[in-house]
């Protein structure tokens, strides 16, 4: 199971990487998703541009009441607390549950977002955190709310001449609560359902996101609104609202296994959140 031939080049600077990008090339960060696909010959690229050495992508920095986390930051760096966690443990918790340690040592936050596998962790988890994508091209920088960055199955708003350089996330307040529920058949595999819930009344965040349910993670509007109201939520009402949102965002039949799984995960995530208040 060997990859088809390609050229490898290592970008010394972000500008060099941007200049080299094109239709038949791929940016290589940790390679934990890309290299297996190349080995299986499911993905073919003429050129792999290695951006894993770019120091400017492997950093974090405060930006007022938000924090910038570089796309090159690895899951292990977040898991270990080697970058400051502005999310009151949420990011560390999510990072520590991704695949396996040896994958986390190389896999990057930006790689996961750019790859846009809906069953991966960061696309769902960061959407629930109200993250914003920071994108660079030769022409400059643009920022997009993550919901507008994620377009579909393995599809993002990135153009061939652009690189995702990082995300910004809010620095959560003391009143923030979160719950992250992931359903896997066995440890470390891709999820079959993810419910990510983040509530921070100070940052005006009430985000309930369902992942691994469709082409991309989806914010559940009614459930999020219910959460935003604050106070105790009646389980009956919660269940009804969850059912409506799952039905509308996934189009799945209520009698299907998947529907029941997703609604179960969302209900449980919300219940866990309630327990913390």
């Amino acid at each position: 199971m060997k990859a088809a031939p390609f050229s490898y080049r290592r970008a010394a600077t972000l500008d060099e990487a941007l200049a080299a990008g094109g239709e038949s090339s791929r940016f290589l960060a940790g390679g934990q998703s890309l290299v297996p696909m190349m080995n299986l010959r499911l993905t073919l690229a003429d050129t792999m541009i290695d951006i894993s050495g770019l120091a400017e992508l492997r950093r974090s920095a405060g930006e007022g009441d938000r924090v910038f986390i570089g796309a090159g930051v690895t899951h292990a760096m977040i898991e270990d607390g080697r970058i400051e966690d502005p999310s009151r443990g949420y990011l560390r918790h999510v990072a520590g549950g991704i695949a396996f340690r040896s994958v986390r040592n190389r896999g990057t936050l930006g790689g996961s977002l750019a790859h846009a596998d809906p069953a991966a962790d960061w696309p769902t988890a960061l959407l629930a955190l109200g993250a914003e994508a920071v994108i660079r091209s030769a022409g400059g920088e643009r920022r997009l709310p993550l919901a507008r960055f994620q377009l579909g199955l393995m599809e993002t708003a990135l153009r061939p001449d652009e690189i995702l350089v990082g995300v910004t996330v809010p620095a959560l307040s003391d009143l923030a609560r979160w719950s992250y529920q992931k359903f896997c058949r066995k440890s470390g595999e891709f999820a079959h359902s993810i419910a990510a819930v983040v509530r921070d009344p100070v940052r005006e965040l009430a985000e309930v996101v369902l992942g691994a349910a469709g082409d991309k993670p989806c914010r559940l509007g009614r459930v999020s609104a219910l959460l935003a109201e604050g106070g105790r939520v009646d389980p009956q009402q919660l269940g009804q609202v969850v059912d409506e949102d799952v039905r509308d965002t996934t189009g799945l039949a209520a009698s299907s296994y998947e529907f029941h799984l997703h609604r179960t995960m969302v209900v449980r995530a919300c219940a866990r959140l309630q327990e913390q208040t």
Binding site: K2, R41, E189
Partner: protein
């Protein structure tokens, strides 16, 4: 709870039979210094990549090879001398078919090898293979096992008239009486889905032509190199003396490396043709596609019992999905034959009928994966006996015990003519109930779980026929009868010992365990014993490692050879020490007489270098070759009862294993550490079958699990801590009373777990009768029960008929 075995003195026990001796194999593997086929590099070596059929069934119209690669791609046409593999067992009615190593005019499963590409590296070989276009005119694929047998199904071989390798019908006892007298009738269908053995190291072969020796040397991970040589030589048309097979270190086998694979044959053929070294290493995708498949059974059962739950009779219809071709030497009939024999389990069953169909489909051919058909037989009988127990309102483990063949009845001829030699089956059930702390589980169930999960406990028992010999294999129709094993014991001039054996240790620690036997017989320190296995040039003809036979068969041969050696050593020593041989004692590598002793090195020197000191008339050398077979060829029966405690999430359908216990009896144990390791390893493979592993096929015959991303195998978190209890009932038929046990662990977990899930979901009326018990299937069972879809359990109580 362990009955201690009483063989040998305590000194022997430290390194002999019964010792927890640490393995000599460990040193090299812990340092990455094992030598697997893929680790062997030979100058000028070419790597092979196979071009495989993308279609499940079709006519090969053309194979288009780009001009620049014409010399690097080979098809069947390039090997006119290579015959097809023919694996037709000596069973009445088994239809004839041929298995061409490279497809000729037809392809019959997705992944079937069509051509070979060669290059200096595997990556380049894959590039070339990708450039070859195979033009296939597709035919409808035969996928559903039962539907394949119905009239009107597309045919895989027109000349057969159907898709059935062989159909059998056997009836024993008076089933009509059972039907009349039954107070309870259980009707069920059980299904185990298709999976693969997936040893961590795939198949591997390196074939090197040797001009000096005028032979082809083939390094191959094979569990039976001597047998494989026979088959390979026949098909290649080369004399066996010019073919040497060497199995170096092997990363697991489990039955996946037991057959003569087309790929291996073609690599050898190519090396013969080119007179260049040629290597092929199976990657996981092609392993999942084309290495042996297994486990796919569909059983329809009617069980008849009395009001106490005593079985009166079983009427079963069995479909085994054998795939597109018959492998050599284990034809698919072996699977069907075994399941038919083993469905009655460890029970006293008065009447039994089994109609069986060995079905051809457009899927990878099956082979004998750990346990072979016994997991499916166990699933059927153990689920059924649980349903009988539920129908009569009794604890399943108690109903089991009452149906089991009792100890005092042994040796006992089962309804299918298996001769259970020794054992207390009922006691293993009782002890398993204790080990799993049944009372505690029942109490916990009454309390309920805070997180809403449902707890259940389930049992499953089985017998495993091991070390069976000539008569049994003849009845299975195999072309090779592995009814014996051989060993050469050679003492060197310096008194150290070499054992050369025909089995292949590939994880079972036989290099260590066999040296323990040499210690037992001779007092030689295992550290002074070399065990050479897996090389057809080094050992006498031997059958190999499979069917849980090696310790009994090869251990028996080693014991016998060592005893013959000992007798000669004693004669030499008696002459030198001027005493009777009977007065001698072997201890600490010296032979002790009433007045003086001699070291093994002195005896070795006399036998080889100082023949003037030999007793008159004695030939030099200390070199013994012998064969061994147990005193009965009907096998010695290991048995066990397993118990599983599960927690089922009724909303997600996830099944978690909370506890697992096994009480087993494999007779005398040579190395308890190795035996426990085999049990646990087998159990976790069984858990894989029960909960995770499956290769589904779509209606076009395309397999839907082709990488380890889709084909889930248990990792450490999926394996529960496992409690093991031992009973030791030595069998009178083997050396030291040992029985084989390598496969046993893998046999009952699907049944035990399914019974535990049944117990957990009793309140919901749901049952799982299909493996793997994925969250979807569990949830579907819960939903079906809620919608009132009923199984057929008819209970006659005082004239009342219940649905």
């Amino acid at each position: 709870m362990t009955d201690k075995d009483t063989s040998g003195s305590s000194a022997a026990a430290a390194k002999g039979v019964g010792a927890r001796l640490r393995r000599r194999e460990d040193w090299r593997h812990l340092r990455g210094r094992g030598q697997f086929v893929g680790d062997i590099r030979v100058p000028g070596m070419l790597e092979v990549a196979f071009v495989r059929s993308a279609s499940a069934h079709g006519i090969v119209r053309d194979i288009v090879i780009p001009d620049e690669y014409r010399d690097q791609v080979f098809t069947a046409r390039d090997f006119p001398g290579v015959k097809p593999i023919v694996a037709v067992p000596k069973i009445d009615g088994f239809k004839y078919s041929e298995h061409p190593a490279l497809a000729t005019d037809r392809v019959r499963f997705a992944g079937e090898p069509v051509a070979m590409a060669i290059a200096p590296t595997r990556a380049m070989a894959e590039d070339i293979a990708d450039s070859v276009f195979v033009d296939i005119e597709e035919l409808p694929a035969v996928v559903d096992t039962v539907a394949a047998t119905l009239p009107g199904a597309p045919l895989i071989r027109e000349e057969w008239g159907d898709n059935v390798y062989v159909a059998r019908d056997a009836e024993f006892g008076d089933l009509a009486a059972a039907r009349r007298e039954a107070a309870v009738v259980i009707e069920r269908e059980y299904r185990m889905n298709r999976q693969s053995a997936v040893p961590l190291e795939g198949r591997a072969i390196l074939a090197v032509w040797d001009d000096r020796l005028d032979e082809l040397c083939v390094y191959t991970g094979s569990q039976s190199p001597h047998q494989t040589r026979v088959g390979m030589a026949q098909v290649l048309g080369i004399e066996e003396r010019r073919l040497r097979l060497i199995s170096p270190d092997m990363g697991g086998g489990f039955g996946a490396k037991r057959v003569l694979y087309p790929e291996e044959l073609m690599v050898a053929a190519l090396a013969l043709k080119l007179k260049r070294p040629v290597r092929w290493l199976d990657d996981k995708r092609e392993h999942l596609l084309s290495a042996i498949h297994c486990r796919e059974h569909h059983h329809k059962v009617k069980a008849y019992a009395d009001a106490r739950g005593r079985i009166l009779g079983l009427d079963v219809e069995v479909y085994v999905d054998a795939g597109a071709y018959s492998h050599w030497p284990n034809s698919p009939f072996m699977e069907t034959g075994m399941v038919a024999k083993n469905i009655p389990g460890p029970y006293d069953v008065p009447s039994y009928r089994c109609r069986s169909y060995t079905v051809a489909t457009n899927k990878s051919p099956i082979g004998a994966y750990r346990g072979v058909a016994r997991p499916a037989a166990c699933f059927t009988i153990e689920r059924t006996i649980d349903e009988i127990a539920h129908a009569v309102g009794r604890e399943p483990w108690e109903v089991r015990v009452e149906n089991m063949v009792p100890e005092h009845a042994m040796p006992y001829r089962s309804i299918t003519n298996l001769i259970f030699d020794t054992g207390n089956y009922g006691e293993s059930v009782r002890r398993a109930a204790g080990l799993i702390e049944l009372a505690g589980v029942r109490a916990r169930q009454k309390q309920g779980e805070a997180d809403g999960r449902l707890i259940g406990v389930g049992f499953a028992a089985f017998t495993e026929q091991t070390a069976h010999g000539c008569g049994e294999w003849v009845s299975r129709g195999t072309p090779v009868i592995p009814g014996y094993e051989s060993a050469t014991a050679r003492m060197m001039p310096d008194g150290s010992l070499m054992l050369m054996v025909g089995i292949v240790s590939h994880g079972q620690g036989l290099e260590t365990a066999l040296s323990q036997i040499a210690h037992q017989e001779l007092s030689i320190d295992p550290a002074h014993v070399s065990v050479r296995h897996g090389d057809t040039q080094v050992s006498p003809f031997g059958m190999g490692t499979f069917a849980s036979r090696s310790m009994v068969m090869s251990g028996g041969a080693v014991a016998r050879a060592c005893r013959l050696l000992r007798a000669k050593m004693a004669a030499i020593a008696a002459y030198a020490l001027k005493c009777e041989a009977e007065a001698l004692r072997f201890e600490d590598e010296r032979v002790h007489g009433p007045e003086g002793s001699m070291g093994f090195d002195e005896i070795g020197r006399i036998a080889h270098l100082r023949q003037e000191a030999l007793p008159p008339g004695m030939e030099p050398l200390l070199d013994v070759t012998t064969t061994y077979e147990p005193q009965v060829d009907t096998g010695v029966f290991t048995y066990a009862t397993h118990a599983a405690v599960v927690a089922v999430d009724p909303d997600t359908g996830k099944v978690d294993l909370l506890d697992y216990a096994c009480v087993e009896d494999c007779g005398t144990v040579v190395n308890p550490m190795i035996v426990d390791g085999q049990i646990i390893g087998g159990i976790v493979q069984g858990i894989g079958t029960a909960l995770y592993e499956e290769i589904p096929y779509d209606e076009n015959g395309q397999p839907l699990a082709t990488t380890l991303g889709d084909y889930l195998m248990p990792g450490a978190p999926e394996a529960p801590p496992i409690k093991i209890g031992h009973m030791v009932t030595p069998t009178p038929h083997t050396e030291y009373g040992m029985k084989g046990m390598g496969e046993g662990g893998a046999i009952p977990p699907p049944a035990a777990i399914a019974n535990a899930v049944r117990d957990a979901l009793r309140g919901l009326g749901a049952e799982l009768n299909e493996t793997p018990m994925t969250p979807q299937r569990v949830r579907a069972a819960i939903v079906a029960a809620a919608e009132g879809v009923s199984r057929t359990t008819r209970v006659h109580r005082e004239g009342e008929v219940l649905q």
